[in-house]
Amino acid sequence: MQLIHHSHQPWRQAIPYVLWVALAVVVYVFFPDQLPLGARIACMAIFVMSLDLVVGYAGLATLGHCAMYGAGAYAAGLWATHVSGDPLVGLLVGAVAGALVAALSGLFLLRFQGLTFLMLTIAVSQILENLASKMRHWTGGDDGLSGFSMGKVLGLASFDLSGRVAFVYAVVVMLLSLWLMRRIMGSPFGLACVGIHENRLRMAALGSSVTAHLQRIYIVAGFFAGVAGALSAQINQIVGLDTLGFDLSAEALVMLVLGGAGHLHGAIAGTLVFMGIHHVASAINPYHWLFIIGALLVAVVLLPRERWSLAWRARLASLGAARVHPSRGVP
């Protein structure tokens, strides 16, 4: 995983943000018909980053992260239906719903580790999915929750059919979430999460209450998963049962592995690659596009990140384009 250092060279920290903004500008200007896809990618990237907090940083393997995403999506949808269509308030409502689900389920889940934890996370999301299915009156059941409309973002811009406002809104929320998550993981709290991932026994011997610490990061991750769910509800203006489905959690995990667990920028890159391939390859061959994802996964898993990194640095060094400092970064 990547340790997040702040301070010494802030401009270096800013480079990836500039690249993401540049990419967003390119999409906005040159691919206007792909803006809805771009908004969905930004939304999913927030979800994958939140998963990264749990899997990549805290070392908790989960396949039930969609529970928080779905809770955020339904909460934002219900809020827009019954209370207010203000997007930012809706985001906050979704985030709180995600954090609440994480807090309540974490109290039970985090008593367990490994495979038991993994299976129980699936169970929690399945229970919520079934609850959402049964509560048709509120959630629309299999038909999904729809019929709500969103107000103007900051009272200025309405969601339009071309998806321009939704795209910009989603990208801004994604970048803000990225900044917040990196800020949190670069703190002593984040460092302790990495410590727990690396060696629980050592952290307990340091006086860390490991379960309580994991509970906090689980809530933080739930908060951001809730943001992602709420954002999805707002830009799609429909919430389906698939927001609580196992497939979503599994796909998010694949995206995370593709981009590199423990690297928040990698989570965005993995989402971009997965959804980009999905979009292009499934149009060419809707039945077999997963072969490409499978091949990529095999490549990523079989070729260790260090080897990629070393090869890339050696290449850069040979081109004279970079000076590689041995103390920079940790695999």
């Binding site: 703190s187 002593p188 690396e198 060696n199 340091l206 933080v220």
Partner: protein, 250 residues
Amino acid sequence: MNPSPVLDIRGLCKSFGGLHVTRNVSMQLNAGERVGLIGPNGAGKTTLINLITGVLAPNTGSVWMLGQDISHLPQDQRVRLGLARTFQITQLAPRLPIGLQVELAIHQRLGSVHHMWAAVSSFTPVREEALHILHTLGLADLAQQAPVSLAYGQQRLVEMAIAMALQPQVLLLDEPMAGVPTAERQVVLQALDTLPKDLAILMIEHDMDLVFSFAHRMVVLAEGEVLAQGAPAFIRQHAAVRTAYLGEVG
């Protein structure tokens, strides 16, 4: 009159099913005292450490620290009261630079480990303290290195650095020389000398020369119970110890 002990172990018993691993063990540690805990393999030494630190719960008996019964406190609260340990097999975060591991221990001690907003690098006094501790143990140049790239003896020193960062009242050293190559033993010995003089230390060690020269007082465990305790010279001459542990007959 003896000063009140910083650590007071009273009649600890622990059994796993029918196996009695610790039998009515009582001992005390005073401030600044160095106590050696020896005994043959399977005598229950590491189990005793685990009982003291709260990793295991005793069946009967109690552990008191600074006049407070800590028997029912979880491990993290015992550490916060000033109880630190090292492990028989080093337990470090393998890929985390050792400087950050020491900083993490300091954050844990200060309670700043819960800060979610300020960057780790903004805690300058913490970084300076960590570097000072590493410098004391001759590890300052390796602060950016992860344990996986260090020699085993150096990893032992990192464990000690982390323990020092916690500023404990009592330090439990579980075989600090285990697995350390001969060439690196001197470094660990020098590190032991740098430990604060007012720190109470309980050291488990199989290296008799080391433990007899280090300890002010020895406790001998055999089959889970205290066979003898006293000054090193007394233990050397103790007939039961020589028979049961040192393997001498007659």
